[in-house]
């Protein structure tokens, strides 16, 4: 076999290996990209779910033998005092004898 034919055959061999390696790298990169992307996708779902639950988060008020109480959705309750206090993820206080002022995640933003 003359040297030119030999070189052509060798080049074809290298091209095949090159193609195989490129495909292997592409597959590996694809798998790695999916593995890397998954936590971000999950975090997007989690954030949407959290935002949805927060948009429904409210506080209620009742009267007990110890005075007025504020209670949040997750079973948290606290006495309603004349100064702001935390009730779950809300802030509430007794403004006067019959009125409470509160702020909760379900309230509209101030801005």
């Amino acid at each position: 076999m003359n040297p030119k034919t030999k070189a052509k055959a060798r080049n074809r061999g290298i091209s095949s290996v090159f193609t195989a390696v490129v495909i292997a790298i592409a597959v590996a990169v694809g798998i790695a990209a999916v593995a890397i992307t998954w936590p971000m996708i999950k975090s997007n779902f989690d954030k949407s779910s959290w935002a949805g639950s927060m948009s429904l988060y409210k506080v209620g008020f009742t009267y007990t033998k110890n005075g007025p109480y504020a209670y949040a959705q997750n079973g948290v309750s606290a006495p309603l005092n004349g100064t702001p206090g935390f009730v779950g993820y809300c802030i509430a206080y007794r403004y006067n004898a019959t009125t409470a002022i509160y702020s909760c995640p379900s309230n509209q933003p101030t801005g």
Partner: protein, 225 residues
């Protein structure tokens, strides 16, 4: 030059160089992408909630709570007037609050990850609303020991309790709750003026509740055993 390139492309050394470039590019690209997704993921798990209520003195009470599990610090408070309040809270973990008072209405807060301070998010501040707490029951209470009027209660949600027979004690709860005790014969009258008033019958005989328009009289004869 072109011959050099051709040899480089076709010879094994060219193949090795191409592989190195390709793998380095792939690793570099993946690392950049991983850095980006890490940033976005951490940012997505910053879950601050900011609330504000107005105070009677004209200021605002701002509270920020970490509703997630990724710790963060509160860095800035954006006020309605356009000014920015720089703060540096301690790292807030799950369900921990940070609060402050501001003279202007806060509209947003900027929090940054306590793990990677370069990752921040801005959360809107939720406004306030008013709610009817409910008017507590109110009643007029007159306590008579022997021939003397001992006390007068009222204004509040009333619960009565008489513990022991002699000496007796009487307690009522509400915003003007009080307690009295004595050793004489006891008579007390309750006249609800608003709402149903409930009684805790402890050593007492009588109704468990009364409504406005009625008068309930309890009598206890103090006898020493």
């Amino acid at each position: 030059m072109s011959q050099f390139l051709e040899e480089l492309m076709t010879e094994p050394i060219g193949f090795i160089i191409a592989m190195v470039i390709l793998i380095a590019g792939a690793i570099g690209g993946l690392y950049s992408y991983w850095t980006y997704t890490n940033h976005v993921t951490l940012q997505n798990y910053l879950w601050p909630i900011a609330e504000v209520v107005p105070l009677k003195n004209g200021t605002y009470y701002l509270g920020v709570v970490n509703t997630g599990y990724e710790p963060f610090v509160v860095k800035q408070v954006y006020l309605k007037g356009g000014s920015i309040l720089s703060v540096d809270s301690k790292p807030l973990t799950h369900n921990q609050w940070w609060f402050t008072e501001t003279s202007q209405l806060p509209i947003a807060v900027k929090v940054c990850s306590a793990v990677d301070p370069g990752i921040c998010t801005v959360a809107p501040v939720h406004g306030w609303a008013m709610a009817e707490v409910g008017v507590p029951p109110d009643a007029i209470l007159v306590v008579v020991e022997g021939n003397n009027t001992r006390g007068q209660g009222g204004q509040g949600w009333l619960l009565l309790r008489e513990s022991g027979n002699c000496p007796w004690s009487l307690t009522w709860y509400g915003w003007a709750g009080n307690s009295i005790s004595g050793t004489g014969n006891l008579t007390f009258l309750i006249q609800p003026v608003y709402g149903d008033v409930h009684f805790i019958l402890n050593n007492l005989v009588g109704p468990s509740e009364a409504s406005p328009g009625s008068v309930v009289v309890f009598k206890i004869f103090c006898t020493w055993w």
